[in-house]
Symmetry: C2
Subunit: 437 residues, 2 copies
């Protein structure tokens, strides 16, 4: 097996980094608490996230909750939460998860100040954010320092193979899922052994209670809320990636599986003897989770158009790190000038209308009989890929945040460009990092 000590040394926060984080966190919590006192607000500040759970990597964010009494209405809570956030982080910007919150920078460190309600374990759920303090308590109680390092290693492995992060853009494993897996199986290597040996679905509970039925490839029951699948965000593809990479790593261990810098970088076109186009839109200033749904819809609509119009799309990718970039690869660049239009059966009421409509100059050949139907070979007006996408996109509503950028869509043929594209970097990075022995 490879040596994990240098890996932990590289990515685990040092004593100094931990002190710095604690200082920053205390400072913010002090500020919040004095505002709460000053304004007679019935709430408390709470450090959450990986820092609170002591499973953070050196580069981690600081996540702070302002936990409100349930006597407040949702609207009141959100209003007060934002006011506090802006007062503490004057340069911060409003973002939106289940509630709006303020996100900013303090020195080098990213800080989020998120409002939520107080709840007790087992209480009826109010929002997923409200559950987070319960997760912190559970993880602190069940992981010792060695276990926390095992969580860090598992996170690094997942980052390197591209399956870490529960945001929609990634649809992978959350930090909390990593923690639950290590609590259940004891170590990072044990977790990998479970995935490597697994065939089909995964069903895990940390308690004795029966597992509720979920229609998902991977189900990990949240021990703080037995009705919830903590692994619901994980896609079949990322679950599959985790399985095969675990098998690959265990069959031939290699440091490459713990290279957390493995995220993709912009790359140039590589010749593939296919037809490739990159469609770019300016990125509106909204959070990834909302934007990604729309960007993905944008990709799906382009693929659908190319599919329906016969350009034979074979692959596609979407990236929204900087701009919205959609890459689509097709087999055909220009459609044939003639296509067979299949009409009604010869028996149909409207058979004569079809013949009248497609006779003479209207057809290249026909109308004629094919099987029991009428057909006509008719000219194709729009044959060029870019023209077809531009024209047909007009008929689609993509999403309220990006529709207004549609007009300025750029279409780039990367084989005729020297530019580098993030979406190409993402596309190429699909290749599995390692090899079996």
């Amino acid at each position: 097996m490879i040596d994990f000590i240098p890996i932990l040394k590289k990515y685990k926060p040092t004593e100094e980094q931990n002190q710095e984080m604690e200082r920053t966190a205390s400072e913010i919590m002090g500020k919040i608490n004095s505002i709460l006192e000053r304004d007679h607000i019935n709430a408390r500040s709470l450090l959450v996230g990986s820092v609170a759970k002591c499973t953070n990597l050196a580069s981690g964010d600081i996540d702070l909750f302002v936990v409100f009494s349930k006597k407040y209405s949702s609207r009141e809570m959100e209003r007060l939460g934002l006011r506090i956030g802006h007062e503490v982080l004057p340069q911060g910007r409003e973002k939106y998860a289940e509630h709006p919150y303020v996100s900013g920078q303090l020195g080098e460190r990213k800080v989020d100040i998120v409002p939520c309600f107080e709840i007790a374990p087992g209480t009826r759920i109010i929002s997923s954010v409200d559950r987070t303090p319960l997760h912190t308590d559970f993880v602190l109680k069940h992981l010792d320092p060695e276990g926390r390092d095992q969580v860090r290693l598992l996170k690094l492995f997942m980052k390197a193979i591209g399956v870490y992060g529960s945001e929609i853009k990634v649809s992978g494993f959350s930090g909390y899922v990593c923690e639950l897996l290590v609590i259940k199986y004891g170590s990072m290597l044990d977790v990998l052994r479970i995935f490597a040996a697994l065939r089909g679905k995964m069903r895990i509970s940390l308690t004795e209670s029966e597992i509720k039925e979920f229609d998902a490839p991977i189900v990990i029951i949240d021990p703080t809320d037995l009705t919830r699948n903590a692994a619901a965000a994980i896609s079949l593809e990322n679950f599959s990636r985790m399985k095969i990479n675990s098998r690959l790593f265990l069959s031939k261990p290699d440091k490459i599986y713990f290279n957390a810098e493995a995220a993709y970088v912009p790359e140039k076109y590589r010749e593939r003897g296919t037809v490739m186009r990159i469609f770019t839109l300016e990125r509106p200033d909204i959070i990834d989770d909302i934007l990604f749904s729309q960007a993905n819809r944008f990709r799906n609509i382009i693929v659908q158009i190319l599919e329906e119009d016969g350009f034979l799309p074979i692959s596609s990718e979407v990236d929204l790190s900087e701009n919205i970039e959609v890459m689509v690869e097709c087999k055909i660049e220009k459609l044939p000038a003639t296509r067979t239009h299949v009409g009604p059966p010869v028996d149909a009421q409207n058979a004569m209308d079809f013949i009248r409509k497609w006779s003479g100059d209207k057809s290249v050949l026909g109308p004629y009989v094919c099987g029991d139907r009428l057909c006509a070979d008719i000219p194709v007006e729009m044959r060029d890929l870019e023209q077809v996408v531009r024209e047909r996109l007009k008929g689609f509503i993509i999403g309220k945040n990006i529709d207004r950028y549609k007009e300025n869509m750029k279409i780039i043929d990367p084989s005729r460009s020297n530019e580098e594209f993030l979406v190409l970097g993402k596309f190429y990075s699909k290749t599995l990092p390692g090899l079996p022995p």
Copy 2:
């Protein structure tokens, strides 16, 4: 309605032509009878076909049967039949239907001398050829001279729209079916009215007896053998053509529907903005019905290859009037240089083998995970349409009569040729002759 008198005048045999045909037929029958007497063969000669039924067109053949006593074995009957045929038609050539027979020319007129067995109506069938004398009797009994002219007009209509002929190459309406239809409905126009009004299948019997179940779009019970569908040769497409052309003609009568010279002629390529190739083989000297099955198989195999390899065939045609010509039209001339090879699920036993096999230089991209499977984008070796067909055809057996010509197959790009091709003429002639008002 249009005037049918000039049409009949043009295509119905004149008094002189009839006398000439009768003379020729008598002469041949005389020769046959003297051979039968000389060699003590228990058989008789019989004039059959449209000449015997008085429904012949001016250009029709003379069909003569030699009807053998059932005391002969099949082999004996065939041997004697051929000997007689060769003696009567010294220039004649052997052909093969259900029994071998001799086909030759006498002056301008084509003559077939076909051996068969004597049977009585309702007797157990021996062969379909044996049934023909019964058909002659039935038609002579049920059609008066006016009815015979109506049959001639119906044949001319069917020839003009390309559905006349029960040979496999055409898969259309036989002369006997035309006769039965006129016997049933009274006139050519009445037959057209029936087809024009018809929706779905056709089920006809000329007797009161219940119709046997046949799995065919059109069933016309043979009145001389109630277990037989006389329309079994008719394809769904030709049945549909008959329906729509009947509707078209009745809605706007036009002489063009009785132009029996409408058969296709060789034609040059017309630009369609697609990829077209003509595959030609030398024509072996066998009868059409047998050759057509093999030529059609040849066409189907080429289309299958092009389909499987992703050239997207959109139409095809086969002609064997002179050479065997197969035309195939595709959307793609050259395949992309890369294709996605979908491998086993990540869970599969052989997942590691797939990764090992397609790693490094073997793939353009991958192996990677797509859904729950492994994939690899791999290089395509053969990309050219002609090369792919030539190479892959080697793995197919087409048929014993044309396999040996496969080596000398020519592939022609008609868009780069000034030649005329029968198969193109056939392809273009699909267009319906007329228009609705």
